[in-house]
């Protein structure tokens, strides 16, 4: 059966389709506004005429490629191409600004490919066991996971914790706009039809990251156009790579696990891994200034979620997120019903998919590394041409999402607000984190409280939920204590000096 699967995959047209998928995926992922979900959904009709293995592998190539591709624009122009690359901007962009764009891209490429490949092995060996475990996640655990994700805000807040918390809570409040998930009551919609489903976070993200950065670059564009980032040709060195291996492995584990949980995908995984990498690091102060671990953690994690997300899809037939839901559709079109029976009835297809997934991840490394020289050319383009182009792409990117011009206004307002936030030291990442996790936190909190008839003990009597909540509290308060402790020491030193 395994041999048959090999023959199914190692055919000229299958490999060709896979390469095509990965390259289009990378391109789609690197364009802000085009997400992995959209790429897979847009090209789904193309697979109708293909064989099962070819068709599904094309979409898998796009899915994996897009998740990686998001990091390219995150690193080069501070614009996460996909939501899951939002965490990558925090260290990727500073590193590129220091001239190490090549190194940054190498780290993200290798971390993505390695993370993705290992997660496929997880999928192959642990699919049945892990699937059982993830099924135990109910509302209480999902709420705890969301809170754990949100607790990271204090670590990514930057210079002022209060400002970070303010933008985080503001994001949570924005996330409550639209129909209430339990009762369907329209909240803060002001009678605007477009707000019924709440604010889509992708236009907000494009505005806060890309448009505001473009506005900011206007401040200096007429004065110092000559001062360009000098591109350092140095790539990733072996000792540096050795240093990030533990980060890649840890993030891969986290990513695979988070990918498995329904409704938590690459965006959650990348923020969680970023924070864990920072916590485990001997030099946490380097994070946010261009730490290699800060790039490799989110990138390994978000590509690892791909293998993780395939676990419930293939073994149980449950799509964990929007992309896998579209993939489920592709399976069904081919007459394959994912679930326990898929392994029994169509074993050769499953194995062919496993082999194809590993290949797709290797292709990411090959295409990514050979494309770096092409990608970094973006930095050579003078800001006078790049900035107007980015602004136009912001407009079309936020429009393309739902073909709705309302989203473009959302992007524009977020861009203006983001410009002033940046100017006065209010970080943008907590807003995005809150927009992603807010709805997950609220609906699961309320569902859990319904289950427990209003008792909060449900979060402490269930072991997984309780562990996650304790971790969240630790994550939330560690930076605070460290801050107070440092202040205390400083004051003590000052008084002794006097």
């Amino acid at each position: 059966m395994l041999l048959q699967a090999f023959f199914d995959v190692f055919q000229f047209n299958v490999i060709g389709i896979l390469i095509l998928g990965v390259i289009s995926g990378i391109a789609i992922g690197s364009l802000p506004g085009l997400t992995a979900t959209m790429g897979v959904a847009l090209l789904l009709p193309l697979t109708f005429g293909m064989s099962a293995v070819t068709g599904v592998l094309l979409l898998i190539g796009i899915y994996f490629g897009a998740i990686y591709g998001g990091s390219i624009s995150a690193i080069l122009i501070n614009t996460p191409g996909t939501p899951s690359a939002a965490a990558t901007t925090m260290d990727g962009y500073p590193l590129a600004q220091q001239g190490h764009a090549k190194k940054a891209l190498m780290v993200s490429t290798i971390s993505s490919g390695v993370g993705g490949t290992i997660s496929v092995f997880f999928l192959i060996f642990f699919a049945p066991i892990l699937a059982d475990w993830a099924l135990e996640f109910s509302a209480a655990e999902s709420f705890a996971l969301a809170i754990f994700g949100l607790s990271i805000i204090t670590s990514i807040a930057g210079e002022s914790m209060v400002k970070g918390l303010i933008t985080g809570v503001a994001g949570l409040l924005i996330a409550t706009m639209g129909l209430d998930p339990v009762s369907g009551f329209p909240r803060f919609t002001f009678g605007e039809v477009n707000l019924m489903n709440g604010l889509n976070f992708i236009p907000v993200m494009i505005g806060l990251f890309a448009a505001s950065e473009a506005f900011k670059s206007m401040e200096s564009i007429n004065f110092q156009d000559k001062v360009k980032v000098t591109l350092n040709k140095a790539g990733l060195k072996w000792p540096e790579f050795k240093r990030i291996i533990p980060t890649i492995l840890r993030s891969t584990g986290l990513g695979t696990f988070i990918g498995m949980i329904p409704a938590a995908g690459g965006d959650v995984a990348s923020f969680v891994s970023y924070n864990e990498a920072k916590r485990f690091s001997k030099k946490p102060e380097e994070f946010g200034k261009g730490a290699l671990e800060g790039i490799s953690a989110p990138e390994a994690a978000n590509n690892a979620t791909t293998g993780g997300a395939m676990i419930p899809l293939l073994t149980l037939g449950i799509p964990g997120d929007a992309v896998t839901a579209v993939l489920l559709g592709a399976f069904l079109v081919q007459g394959l019903q994912p679930g326990p029976l898929l392994f029994q009835n169509h074993g050769e297809v499953v194995y062919a998919l496993f082999i194809g997934m590993i290949l797709a991840n290797l292709l990411i490394i090959i295409c990514g590394l050979s494309g770096i020289r092409l990608f970094v050319k973006v930095l050579d383009v003078p800001k006078k041409y790049l900035t107007p182009t980015i602004l136009v792409l912001c407009v079309i990117g936020s429009y393309a999402l739902n073909n709705n011009f309302f989203d473009v206004w959302v992007m524009m307002i977020s861009g203006i607000v983001g410009y002033f936030m940046q100017r006065y030291g209010f970080p943008a990442s907590p807003v995005i984190l809150a927009l992603i996790l807010g709805p997950m936190a609220e609906s699961n909190l309320r569902r859990a409280l319904v289950m427990s008839e209003g008792s909060y003990s449900i979060f402490f009597t269930r072991p997984i939920a309780c562990t996650l909540i304790i971790l969240a509290i630790l994550t939330l308060f560690t930076p605070l204590f460290r801050y107070l402790w440092n202040n205390h020491k400083k004051r003590k030193a000052n008084s002794e000096a006097i």
């Binding site: 847009l42 339990v182 009551f185 107007p388 429009y399 073909n403």
Partner: protein
Amino acid sequence: MKTAEQIASFIVMILAVAVYAMTLQFPSLEGFETGPAFFPKMLSIVFFILGVLLFLQSFRSSNDKLPEKMRDALIIMVLMLVYLYLVTLLGFNISTPIILVIFLAFLKVRTWYSYIALPIGVTFFVYLIFQVFLGVPIPEGAMFG
């Protein structure tokens, strides 16, 4: 920075009060422990406290002024608003080259061929990728739609 933080803290507090007031009008759910107001109300209280903390913190911030170079950024924002209005009116394919020429002129680009290459190149690239390759419609504008 100090003044800006104090203004920001007032904005936060006012927003928090406004959100809290709005949640008071949300209906409660029969048979459920928590209604639609539960989560936003809780958040608005936290938001208010954070606003107060920011206000207190602002006294420790330095008074020094930031270098004022906001003018160009503000002009670009206004130009972008004009652009968005143009897109709703004339559509993407016509407004984009127009606004790009204006941007280039504002940025004092001197090479004449950039005024042709960039506007046409960008518009064509977007058209090719979004409309032809991916089949995503681009805004057509009220005059043609």
